[in-house]
């Protein structure tokens, strides 16, 4: 039926929310950003690389 949003599967968020909060999302954003920042020798490179390093510990307590 047109104009009707498909409901999310039980136990799963709606698709847009699922994509936006995917565990890979931060890495897919930070990886090119860090490389671009490094290419311009920006000090922000360190913050991005720090973010990547911290995020790799996802699941570790």
């Amino acid at each position: 039926m047109t104009g009707v949003q498909p409901s999310a599967r039980p136990g799963r968020a709606p698709a847009p929310r699922r994509w936006a909060t995917d565990p890979l999302a931060p890495v897919l954003l930070l990886t090119p950003a860090a490389v671009l920042a490094a290419a311009q020798a920006s000090a922000l490179t360190w913050a991005m690389l720090g973010g990547l390093a911290g995020y790799t510990l996802s699941g570790s307590v």
């Binding site: 890979l24 020798a41 490179t45 911290g54 995020y55 699941g59």
Partner: protein, 172 residues
């Protein structure tokens, strides 16, 4: 408060490393650069390998003790802050990836630039905080946990590759 603790903990560890970087400041910048890139390469090779067997089977030191659960039972707010702080320092937690070690080496060899350490530490804490925040934002924690487990190797490999590329470009 947990997120605040993570960021403050990450910042503290990075500042300590930044201060310690003075010990390596006399080393010629090109040697420090080479050592950083080598560490990043080894870190990436440690994440790569078929069937979970790393191409660089390097055992790295870690304090395999965890923050005790009763920290949260004594006081929820202070406990959350302390829990996050200890996780953020990276001292009392499992370090299951190579990237934090590579970052630590890079900060140590960065030539006593404290602003670099501060940025790295703030970023580390924020990266650590991204996990619980994203998990909560997903709305379905169990599904997010399942997806994380499936993507964890991709996360560590991509991060390792990004660190190698970035540090290779940050020439002295």
């Amino acid at each position: 408060m947990f997120v605040v603790g993570l960021v403050v903990g990450g910042l503290l560890s990075a500042v300590v490393l930044g201060l310690a970087s003075g010990l390596f400041a006399p080393v010629p910048p090109v040697w420090r650069y080479g050592a950083t890139v080598l560490a990043a390469l080894l870190g990436l090779l440690r994440e790569l390998g078929p069937a979970g067997v790393p191409l660089a089977p390097i055992r790295l030191p870690q304090n395999t003790r965890q923050v005790p659960q009763d920290v949260l039972q004594r006081s929820l707010v202070r406990g959350a802050l302390q829990f996050g702080f200890e996780l953020g320092t990276g001292v009392r937690t499992y370090l299951s990836a190579s990237a934090p070690y590579v970052l630590a080496v890079a900060v140590l060899l960065a030539g006593q630039r404290l602003h670099v350490a501060v940025l790295a530490g703030l970023g580390f804490g924020a990266g650590r905080a991204a996990t619980p925040l994203l998990r909560r934002a997903s709305g379905v924690a169990a599904d997010w946990d399942t997806r994380l487990q499936a993507r964890l190797r991709g996360i560590t490999v991509l991060a390792g590759a990004a660190m190698l590329a970035a540090f290779a470009m940050l020439t002295p």
